[in-house]
């Protein structure tokens, strides 16, 4: 009994530094965020306990919160579809030509290494209408008819109630996808390389065509990786902030995403409200992640990868 306790004590002493750091930098701020979300104050002087008032404000009264969730959702939808499809196609191409794959891996991944702010500022210089570098290229290539104010927030493509989809939002979604596809590419490539080559050989012997191999071998076995990429894409994109701030500064609220709202409330000394928004966003993202996992399990069981 004594020896067992001693052994546990020694084991605990090894994980204690990590536990301490995790508690100080993760658990304490997390709990403190909860406490602040029930208060009205600016982080310096807490004036009063307000119960659930901040959550009510976020969920029912703040006219900009749900549009910001929609704008974040729109950029996420773009990333889930356009970005991840491009990443998958490139991963498939590189997987087949693995000898030159290392170079492509570096080329495609390098964008992810760059700071979001730098990408935002660079893309702004390229895309602004006067004297935007992109427009100049188009002009020189004889594509003058395509000249455009790419960050134009007044050009509404379609509107649903209070929510307006503008050119600026679509451009933001494209830039975000362009910057982020490297992550998805690397993860999907690793997933593809983990699929045993013998399965493809057997399929070929049985006379399966490429698309049949893809549908019946690649896609089912890649499903866990695709789900992981989807979850990471949703979490990453819904929390996107710096690049959008540098690119459009929210464009009068028309490209404002949830984290930008949280940031604006922090700057406006509404710390309680900002914390409540952070918690609401966190809960929504956790719910989405769990739903994705359930869907993934269901899909895999349908394909026979997992027992149903």
């Amino acid at each position: 009994m004594n020896a067992c306790l001693k052994e546990k004590g020694v084991n605990f002493s090894f994980i204690f530094p990590a536990l301490l750091i995790f508690s100080v930098f993760y658990i304490y701020p997390f709990i403190y965020t909860f406490i602040l979300s029930f208060q009205r104050g600016d982080g310096i002087y807490i004036s009063e306990f307000v119960g659930l008032a901040n959550f009510k404000e976020v969920l029912f009264y703040d006219k900009d919160w749900w549009p910001s969730m929609f704008y974040g959702g729109f950029i996420t939808f773009f990333a889930l579809t356009f970005q991840n499809v491009v990443a998958l196609l490139l991963a498939l191409a590189v997987d087949k030509a693995i000898k030159t794959g290392k170079i492509y891996r570096v080329i495609f991944f390098v964008l992810c290494v760059l700071s979001e702010i730098i990408i935002g500022l660079l893309m702004r210089q390229i895309l602004i209408s006067n004297p935007g570098i992109f427009n100049q290229w188009l002009d020189k290539l004889g594509l003058g008819f395509f000249l455009h104010n790419w960050l134009d927030a007044k050009k509404i493509l379609f509107q649903v109630g209070n929510v307006k989809i503008t050119h600026a939002l679509v451009t933001t979604a494209l830039v975000h996808s362009w910057k982020g596809f490297g992550w998805a590419f690397v993860i999907l490539l690793a997933g593809l390389q983990a699929i045993p080559e013998q399965l493809y050989e057997s399929a070929r012997i049985d006379g399966a065509r490429s698309y049949q191999s893809f549908l019946n071998i690649t896609l089912p076995l890649l499903t866990p990786v695709i789900v992981l990429v989807f979850i990471l894409t949703i979490l990453g994109t819904m929390q996107a902030f710096a690049m959008i701030l540098a690119l459009t500064r929210g464009a009068g609220g028309l490209t404002e995403v949830p984290v930008m709202r949280i940031y604006n409330h922090l700057r406006g000394s509404q710390v309680g409200l900002a914390c409540a928004e952070g918690i609401v966003l966190g809960v929504i993202l956790i719910a989405i992640s769990f739903t994705m996992l359930r869907i993934s399990k269901w899909v895999r069981s349908r394909w026979g990868v997992l027992p149903s």
């Binding site: 020694v10 982080g43 310096i44 002087y45 927030a153 500064r249 009068g252 609220g253 604006n264 000394s269």
Partner: protein
Amino acid sequence: MHLSKVVWCFIVIIALISGCAPRQDTDEKKIVIWHWMNDRKSAFEELAKRYTSQTNIPVKFKLFFPPDIYSQKVIAAARAGSLPEIFGILGEKKSLSSFIKAGHILDLTPVMKENANEWKDSFYPQTLQTTVFEKGNFYDVKPGIYGVPIDTTLMQFVYNRELFKRAGLDPDKPPQTFDEFITYAQTIKDKLGVDGFICGWGEGWLLNCLATEWAINIMDEQRFIQTLEGKIPYTDEKWIQVFSLFEKIKDSGILAADITTMINKEAEDAFSKGKAAFSFNGSWSVNVYKQLSPELDYAFFSLPKAANASFKIWGGAGSSFMVKAKSSNKDEAIKFLKWLTARKQQKFLIKNTNNLAAIKGCEQDLPPILSPLTDNLDRLTHPNIWPYNEDSRVIEVMNKGLQQTVMGVKTPQEVAQEVQQIKQRVGRR
């Protein structure tokens, strides 16, 4: 063996915990100052050297840039109890009031009033007023003077004289009225193909400054304050008139493209390169334009009036320093701030940073471009001197509404209604 591992773990943990502990004030006479003023870094460092050579007291200016980072640093330090002897606070007066109520800032009233108000009276009244809390103030702060201004800032229109000449306009006669402003900007745009007006309207506060100046011009300051108090709604016809000015500017076609996603640095860069005829900027821009384009021929002018009535200029203390209430070196910190705001040091700052002084009597030393601005010092107004302050959520809705008006996405009436709705809801809370 195990025992030695446990001892080592204990030492590491103690070291970690003590590393996280707040800095203890020592009796050492050293003054540390935190600031965010990137453009004044070298001037401050030179002044610190001079003070140290005169008094043998080490002075260290620590720059944290950009301002957002600085603000978060000060808030974190306040909570951790590790503020330096002297620091500045960015943001609204509400933030300053929170720091005071939390006991972080020293009331300087006794030292300001020494020798028959000698130090207090050396400042421009409107500049000092931004750090003063009167009896029965809106913020429920103990009355007092809580900061030392080191310069004065005001927001003005600025125009490119060279473009005026090239467009056949008299460079010594800037527009006096709103209609003249639009006409001049259109003329320059039509003749020279440059933008009529540029400003960092991606930063909502610049729109808010301008809206405030026009609101006071159209409805007078008293009625403006009554709106903040909740006695006059934002849906009042005078307010709609104010919001409509932004729609008129948009309709005139003088605005630079991307203006609502542009930061002020970008607008300053474009104006300094002659890409726009007019801009709306602070007096600090003299230093910025000098660095970006030393040959730029430009001048400031007062608000182009939208109504035939008096007007006010948004301005006051550009930057102020506060003394940490619990500092063991507060007497030395006060002595240093007195020295910093003495005429000799203020003149040094004018020469090296091209800002208006915080104290009276330095007008002769101002660069020619800044001299005319001193005529407007009695017109200064600022949220920090108003008896009521607008809630940040109301300001946010107004700024976004104006940005969308400039884009043509919202009408002035819609903006007025949205601002009034949030005003009523915030008032109820």
